[in-house]
Symmetry: C2
Subunit: 443 residues, 2 copies
């Protein structure tokens, strides 16, 4: 026997979309094509207005979805001032205009759903206080890891946990590039070009390959996990442009995989947030996350280890997260329970500087092949409190040069960097070819 339909919600919840680009059109498509399913599962939700700077293009897209009677304009105020609209979806991207539009919409009591990671990672706190003040909702599930539910999961389902760490593959472009380098033996440049050809990387890939995009996402997750505001400018980043085929070969040999990670941890000394490529054990759940997929690995003190895997980008996956938020916002409207949970940064915790963090490190050093090289290097490491897990001379690279690869135990970053500076200046050292963190528990 099917269950009785719940107390029918007759009210139609009305939605306006600001920005009908890739993500906005995905959300529109879902709202239209799944309107029956959504009405059945929750309540009728109707798209009634669109704002986009390219009116003819937006109109054409709406026509193709069978929605030729929807007003389209290029001024966000038309949406904010339409008092019949309950929920505004903001998917234009950027900071200035979305900030103005979202704060104006919240002040009118509208619920707002956004995919704008740049805005949330930098101004999320201010916008959430406006939402709080005007007793309405600002949801942003789509701002991190596209279609993967993680923000509601951390705020609600996992609310019983003290979070120990979050490690995320939250940038599909860099994951695609690193997978391609590891599996096809491509160089960074070749893999990047391939990613650009497939539309996974932009013409200017800086935001992705230098880690700025991942920094925004891990800042958002860290803020939620530790109940303390972390903005993107507090996240040290290191890109993947320096990863070479040799690093990937050695990683494989040591039993590791190289992944671009957003990492957030908390211990008794504070919060630690960083973005950089790292070697992780091949048996780690994140190691099998390939191509442009995203995944968030979460460790909670009572949950233990968990991972959430899926599509981190794309019109429909991101649309899935946006429409999920729209449905949640609509439920809050219909049940008079807006502001059930808003900002969760109730505390102000210390964020460590990068020099205060600890990690294992992989170091690849090119040396002149002469007696005493090992001794000179290990002497410096010892003096700087850097203890070694393993060290080996890997290969001769020319008549007089060889390569040494070492992996340290957990050591302090400042100690590590100081010892590297000293090693670089040794007369027997040609250069430091690379330094990559190793994220692995000590046995």
């Amino acid at each position: 026997m099917p269950c009785k339909l719940p107390k029918k919600i007759d009210r139609v919840v009305k939605v306006g979309i600001l920005g009908l680009g890739t993500v906005g059109s995905g959300a529109a498509k879902i709202l239209i094509e799944h309107s029956d399913l959504i009405a059945l599962r929750a309540m009728p939700i109707k798209l009634i207005r669109v704002v986009d700077k390219d009116i003819p293009k937006a109109q054409k897209l709406l026509d193709s979805l069978g929605l030729n009677d929807i007003p389209v304009s290029d001024n966000w105020q038309d949406l904010v001032n339409d008092d019949s609209i309950d929920i505004m979806i903001e998917v234009v991207g950027g900071i200035q205009m979305p900030y103005e539009a979202i704060s104006a919409a919240l002040k009118k009591g509208k619920s707002v759903v956004t995919a704008n990671k740049d805005l949330i990672a930098s101004h999320g706190g201010e916008l959430l206080s406006i939402a709080e003040e005007f007793a309405t909702d600002l949801f942003f599930e789509a701002s991190v890891a596209g279609g993967i539910p993680i923000i509601q999961v951390m705020k609600e389902s996992l609310a019983a946990n003290r979070f120990v760490q979050i490690m995320g593959i939250v940038n599909g472009t860099t994951n695609y590039i690193l997978t391609s380098m590891a599996e096809k033996g491509a160089s960074f440049e070749e893999a990047l070009q391939e990613a650009q050809k497939l539309g996974y990387a932009e013409a200017d890939p800086t935001n992705d390959v230098e880690g700025y995009d991942a920094a925004r996402k891990i800042a958002i997750l860290a803020s939620i996990a530790f109940n303390s505001r972390v903005t993107d400018d507090m996240v040290p980043v290191e890109g993947i442009t320096h990863i070479s085929d040799w690093d990937i070969k050695y990683a494989t040999e040591f039993g590791y995989v190289i992944k671009m990670l957003g990492i957030a941890k908390e211990d008794e000394n504070g919060i630690e947030v960083r973005v950089h490529p790292a070697m992780i054990p091949q048996s780690h759940p994140l190691a099998s996350v390939r191509d442009s997929f995203n995944a968030i690995f979460v460790e909670g003190d009572v949950l233990g280890e968990a991972m959430f895997f899926g599509r981190g980008a794309g019109s429909l996956p991101t649309g899935s997260a946006i429409v999920g938020d729209v449905i949640a916002a609509a439920r809050n409207i219909c049940h008079n329970s807006k502001s059930r949970w808003g900002c969760t940064c109730f505390m102000e915790k210390k964020v460590k500087t990068i020099d205060q963090t600890n990690s294992k490190y992989y170091v690849r050093i090119k040396v002149f092949d002469q007696p005493g090289v090992f001794a000179a290097i290990t002497k410096i490491l010892g003096e700087e409190n850097v203890s070694m897990d393993s060290v080996m001379q890997k290969r001769r690279i020319s008549e007089d040069k060889a390569e040494i690869v070492l992996v340290t135990h957990q050591v302090n970053h400042a100690d590590m960097m100081r010892s590297i500076d000293r090693i670089r200046n040794l007369s027997c050292v040609a250069n430091i070819a690379n330094i990559i963190r190793v994220e692995e528990r000590e046995a």
Copy 2:
């Protein structure tokens, strides 16, 4: 700047636990030890009563948590009749008594949180209608896959999706056994004994190894995914006791891993739900889920592929899900928004019989090594509409016998079984050593 604390909820939400066993004591521990964190993130939640059949043991446990002033009794009616209790946690297991206690609590308007998969998979519909009628909540996140958030995720975060399929490793015992067989070369019996020694398998392992436990969980997930009631008795099950080391060796050779899966699919012909061991490609996200871990692979029409991985059992992981539900129920109480979402089985869809399902099949046949064997087998398969993907003579097993292993394309189950019956009766066939489904998209 930390955000302002939200409108302080002064009300203390009061909780009673029915059953202080492994899971109940995990939930109690979290409620006590994380009470400050929970109060900060949501509102004060207080455990005020416990019911357990072993009063001295329960009292001792509460003492160890510093809660010696909490009333303990062995009658569930004491909890249900305590009007100060807002939320009842039911973690005794079984059907009869929990059914009575939960329905009585719901009728009193209490919210109920349960981990009871047996009860939800068989009587969930009735209990959810009682919750609906008395305008209260019945939550059961912990009933499927322990600490992994999946029920709220499917009901809320992914509500914009038409679900295409759910494939779950939802039984940690069988996953542990199959991992041990694959990685350590253990036989089924050895792996089972090891699992029993480690506490992963019960003395009577029937529920786990024959698939009944997984059937309950996939029935619950199928009901949510397809908005139509699927009870555990509608799920055909097949256990893992017939999996041999040779099947595992051949699986590896073909590029597969054998996993015990709960599968739920929907197409234009209806819903399909089943539990059985299956070969999946080594590149499938579920293939890397090892040991006693659980994972749910979800395919939504707009989300695409996603996977949720974590601990499917254990006191604290399951406690994490229970307390997460308690917090959600408490929010609904404090925001006057109980019954935000209840039963979601609004439709009554056709569930296919096993004979109506399609799959690829791996078949291992022991034959008398004589001319015409291949021809006789392939003739039958052709006559029964079973087309083959690959077939090979794998090894000589004695002077006069050999083993043939074949993998079919997607074929109808009834056709497959009919052809197997005919092949079994061939004079050149000694016996059918095994038949295992292969869950893989056709290229």
